[in-house]
Symmetry: C2
Subunit: 344 residues, 2 copies
């Protein structure tokens, strides 16, 4: 005799028995009630209500080879942009009934990362969202079959995939132009760690367009504390009057360093950041920055993904939702850290 385990939850068979229909009819009803006669429809509805039946997602996933959940791949989830993006994804995903599973792609090496990707794919998620603020894409995207719904947020363009673009190049260009227009000879850039930094590129192009020589960008890490030393160093150089940091946390570190060096912001040096971190408007002085709509990007990614998922569910071929390229642009937010320059 087989197991008699049976959890306490009613199965589709139990409901079918109560409603006096076959299991396949139950299944059809679950997928689309209109595929069942009115009479059975009410009987089934009553039985479901009576037994408080909820379909077993795991059994469904096995039969369909597709689980009703969204996988999110991202590096370190503690960084501001990722946290916000993940929040947007989460909220929207939950709204459409998909739980969100996270796979952290960390730097323990490519093999380890590939292991995460495989572990993810083995679980047949309905779709995958890749947060690529670190340019991890190339080592990951190729391992995701083109038949799996996928939306990439950020990163270099993949022509055959759906992707969301944050317009960082344009924003950085705009910011740099803005800082120059405030009357500064040049703008120094403190770079976030990334192989390909669109922010840096935008800064460079703006300087170039203004015929201003670009000072060497200063490299730092994601750790804001590291930026304090950079701020001090820049503060000791009186020729430095405008600093553009790759993100707000770095800008904050730089401002702290400037304070230690005895420089006032914005009187002696102006500082701008990028992202519009929650604390930027609370900083002393409040930080001029580029507002990035991370949560919106996350929500939009889910919407795009859902269209692809629907294609799969309805056996349609890859439609245009699979290669869309949408931009969710940032915008300049001016605050006191770039208040008018007061010269000696």
């Amino acid at each position: 005799m087989p197991r008699t385990k049976r959890g306490t939850a009613p199965s589709i068979r139990d409901v079918a028995a109560v409603a006096n229909v076959s299991v396949p009819t139950m299944s059809r009803y679950l997928k689309d009630p209109s595929r069942v006669s009115e009479k059975k429809r009410v009987a089934i509805a009553a039985a479901i209500e009576k037994l408080n039946y909820r379909p077993n997602p795991i059994a469904r996933a096995l039969a369909l080879d597709m689980s009703e959940s969204i996988a999110v791949m991202s590096a370190d989830t503690r960084l501001y942009g990722r946290t916000q993006t993940f929040y947007g994804i989460e909220r929207k995903a939950q709204e459409i009934g998909y739980p969100t599973t996270i796979y952290v792609l960390d730097s323990r090496g490519g093999d380890w990362m590939l292991g995460s990707v495989r572990s993810c794919l083995d679980r047949s998620p309905a779709g995958v969202i890749l947060i690529d603020y670190d340019r991890l894409t190339d080592s990951v995207v190729s391992h995701i079959p083109t038949t799996t719904p996928l939306v990439i947020i950020g990163g270099p363009r993949h022509e055959d995939r759906a992707q969301i673009h944050l317009g960082e190049y344009d924003s950085a260009y705009t910011m740099t132009k803005h800082l120059l227009a405030l009357g500064h000879a040049t703008v120094h850039y403190v770079a976030v760690p990334s192989d390909v930094d669109a922010r840096e590129d935008g800064w460079r192009m703006a300087l170039s367009d203004a015929h201003v020589p670009a000072p060497a960008p200063i490299a730092t890490t994601w750790d804001a504390e590291k930026a304090i030393a950079i701020g001090q160093q820049l503060g000791n150089d009186d020729s430095v009057t405008a600093i553009f940091a790759g993100n707000d946390e770095i800008a904050m570190g730089v401002m702290r360093g400037l304070a230690i060096a005895g420089k006032r912001v914005p009187e002696d040096v102006i500082v701008a950041g990028f992202d519009d971190h929650t604390l930027s408007r609370v900083w002393n002085p409040p930080l001029t920055t580029i507002r990035q709509h991370f949560d919106e990007a996350g929500e939009h990614a889910v919407t795009m993904l859902k269209q692809q998922i629907d294609d799969v569910v309805n056996n349609r071929p890859r439609g245009e939702a699979w290669t869309m390229f949408d931009t969710i642009a940032g915008e300049l937010v001016e605050r006191e850290s770039t208040g008018e320059l007061v010269r000696g």
Copy 2:
């Protein structure tokens, strides 16, 4: 004829065929190789290698009524403590091979929350970790069967469950004592939004023990910007010389408000926070606070949960791992925001 779909991935049957063993033998090998004869063991290993076989977690989950994943329930994941805790969980969970699925318990009402909990339970996670920094516990814990592995982080004690305690009461007590010892007549408290706030209780007890009357605590929200107005207000009251904020972000808002009101920190007013936010050491001036080991708490929760999961897997009854109560205490970190008071 049935479907001929069959994904490209090899199934246990394919491997069994290649290795010339039965499917059940394969299954036994997968669970514990020692249950299979040496000869078959090598044949199976070779076949697995050859076909690059990886067991289907969904099929396994259906058969076992338990999926190899950990569910995390939390309110707004963007708040600092939760992000950090989630990171610790994630990292440790991935280390032991369990992906992490998040279920956000938001404030869209109890019914909605209950829906999330049910949706979670329907997917039979191996275990659940509940981050209860908001005192959501009571409305959720009772819906999680005592047979489901569960670890609660924070929140009021549930005697029959495993739980991790952050020692906030003690930390707040210590901090308040410390601030008083710096020579202040009293300490004002700006409260985080929570029905039951151990931090507030610790502050109150410290004042009481020092025979100092407690000023009315000032309520605020999670939004640091709101705290700016509070800071201004406190700054306009010259009798206020020491402020203890319920978390660092609020402390930062308060400091900004004090600056607007023309008060210097720490010369005129000292300020302390709670959590040791990443940016606290970068703030100008750096913030005295209580360092909370959120990531460690998250990792520890996974370790505790794993023990319970092992009990379930091995058909053991609820052991002591199911009702453990461990503390991961915070510690005072002194920085410049509470530097010695200079009286005019």
